[in-house]
Amino acid sequence: MMTTSTLDTRATVTRRTAAAAPRRARGRGLRVLWGVLGWAGSLTLFFPVAYMVLKSLQTEKVAASATPQFLFEPTLEHYAAAFGQGIWPYAINSFLVTAVSTLLVVALALPAAWALSVRAIANPQDSLFFFISTKMMPIAAGIIPVYIVATNLGWLNTVHVLVIMHLGMNLPLGIWMLRSFMQEIPREIIEAAQVDGAKTWRIGWSVVLPLMRPGIASTALLCAVFSWNEYFYAANLTSSTSTLPLYLQKFLSFGELYTAQVAAVATIVSIPVVIAGWFAQKSLVRGLLFGAVK
């Protein structure tokens, strides 16, 4: 799917070298084996997620039985209960924080990526390493000053403080990813525009920006996933006005009696990011490599 060309070459190679019939049979057997093992590996990883969805459709009584139940009468009561139990304020905050912080990441990272690739400053590597080095800093090492400042500004337990912290958390990633996408724009296109007499901002707006769309989309999706799932800042800087991970924290005290309810809420909050992740997976790999390995 991703590397049809590579696979085609490999297929022809196999066809050419494995001319003898027994070898071809062995090749087919091997392919079946890899297929079975590949699916086994994939399903092992996916199983806990599937099991979670399954449990979310059981009654608490069925979910609490010692033997896992796979045949049961499904119920949606836990989904109904989740939406009845005040999930909405948390969900709205999660949407707000994710959307605003991701938008700001792109707004700040795009010009920065430009200054680190297309019209580069003197030593772009130094700045790039500064940005990535901030990700090495243990988040806990800076939390006390942030907590104190937030307290004094009256920002504790608000969504602004989360937006700011998420922006700081995702900005280095955004810059690295967008820069690596920008690096891949052929220089000839930009030079041709220059020859045509286009001003710098015009090149940025009408030449580079349209070409960057897929890169921006996958960067934004990944940042949104991280923002949506973020727990450390939410737990330490907010309590009642917070995001979904803190809504889930409530269930910690209920213990094992609410397995099915937890499963339903966990499924609801995971659906948006899982779908985003599935859509982003192709360009995600490119982004994750940061253009560092070719």
Partner: protein, 307 residues
């Protein structure tokens, strides 16, 4: 090296004017200033607080304490224990993720029906909300009486294991590995897909078996991908917080408290801001010591990029 690049730049075009330099820096400044303010100022404040005595509980105001907090950190058994836990948790999970990720990437790089769907399903654990799935694992997987792992061991006739009280660290590493294997797999799969086909063919014509081809062609090609995956994994895992808070709350007897979680306990449970700040500074130094050699590797990879 730097002088060389300088001369080539100068040769290519006349030195940038002051105006041009600032025009180029301009677009970078908002992001740079924001990151500087958000990361460097808190760190400076942490450094300041780390030499203060400041317990929020007795209502005291910060007062200079010299290196008392640092002394306290190094004499604190729990600090050493949490450092050890951080190493075990980060190292164990990173190694497990790389090994399993390699196997999975190899399998998902083969041609078989439904490969695209198999890949998509395999990466799902990386996206689901960590806090949510951790809570779910806690009751539906690890619980000794109705968790799935307990059911498996019972059906094999083994005694039931209470994972969270008997093997809490193993349980955490298992959960973290499950979450991060897809991440390692994605990077390693990209490495396998870009493996040099011509060299593989040449090796095959020279009569090299699959094992030999893997060792002398694929593995050297994969090395930077493995290094990058390990670096990114370690960077993420060293900060583990939510999984610990949900699964074990750092226990039993600080058995699963890593440094991040210990700072949190000191700051927001004991409200000892001075000590917590000193811990933060020490954690930063330890992190740099641990990650810097790996970052060098990355910068090596990065420099060979060419452009």
């Amino acid at each position: 090296m730097s002088t060389m690049t300088m001369t080539t730049v100068v040769a290519a075009r006349p030195a940038m004017s002051r105006h041009e330099k600032w025009a180029r820096r301009g677009p970078l400044l908002p992001a740079l200033v924001f990151t500087l303010v958000l990361t460097q100022i808190p760190f400076a404040v942490t450094l300041f607080l780390s030499v203060q005595r400041w317990l929020l509980l007795d209502g005291s105001v910060p007062s200079f304490a010299g290196f008392q907090n640092y002394l306290g950190v190094f004499q604190d058994e729990v600090f050493w224990k949490s450092t050890g836990n951080t190493v075990v948790m980060t190292g164990g999970t990173t190694i497990a993720c790389i090994l399993l990720g390699l196997v999975l990437a190899f399998l998902l790089n083969q041609q078989f029906p439904g490969r695209g769907i198999a890949r998509t399903l395999a990466i799902t654990p990386f996206f689901v909300m960590p806090v949510a799935v951790t809570l779910f694992w806690k009751s539906a997987m690890f619980d000794p009486s109705f968790g799935l792992l307990g059911f498996f061991s019972r059906s094999l006739g083994l005694p039931g294991v209470n994972w969270l009280s008997e093997y809490p660290m193993a349980a955490l590493v298992m959960l973290l590995t499950w979450r991060f294997v897809p991440f390692a797999m994605l990077i390693l799969l990209a490495g396998l897909q870009s493996a040099p086909q011509d060299q593989l063919e040449a090796a095959q014509m020279d009569g090299a078996g699959p094992f030999r081809r893997f060792l002398s062609v694929i593995l050297p090609h994969l090395r930077p991908f493995i290094e990058l995956a390990a670096l990114l994994l370690a960077m993420n895992l060293i900060q583990t917080f939510g999984e610990i808070a949900m699964l074990t709350a750092g226990g039993p007897a600080y058995g699963t408290t890593n440094i991040t979680f210990y700072i949190y306990l000191k700051a927001f449970n004991a409200f000892d801001f001075g000590m917590a700040s000193a811990l933060g500074v020490v954690a930063l130094i330890l992190t740099i010591a641990l990650i810097l050699p790996m970052l060098r590797l990355l910068s090596g990879i990065f420099k060979t990029e060419g452009r």
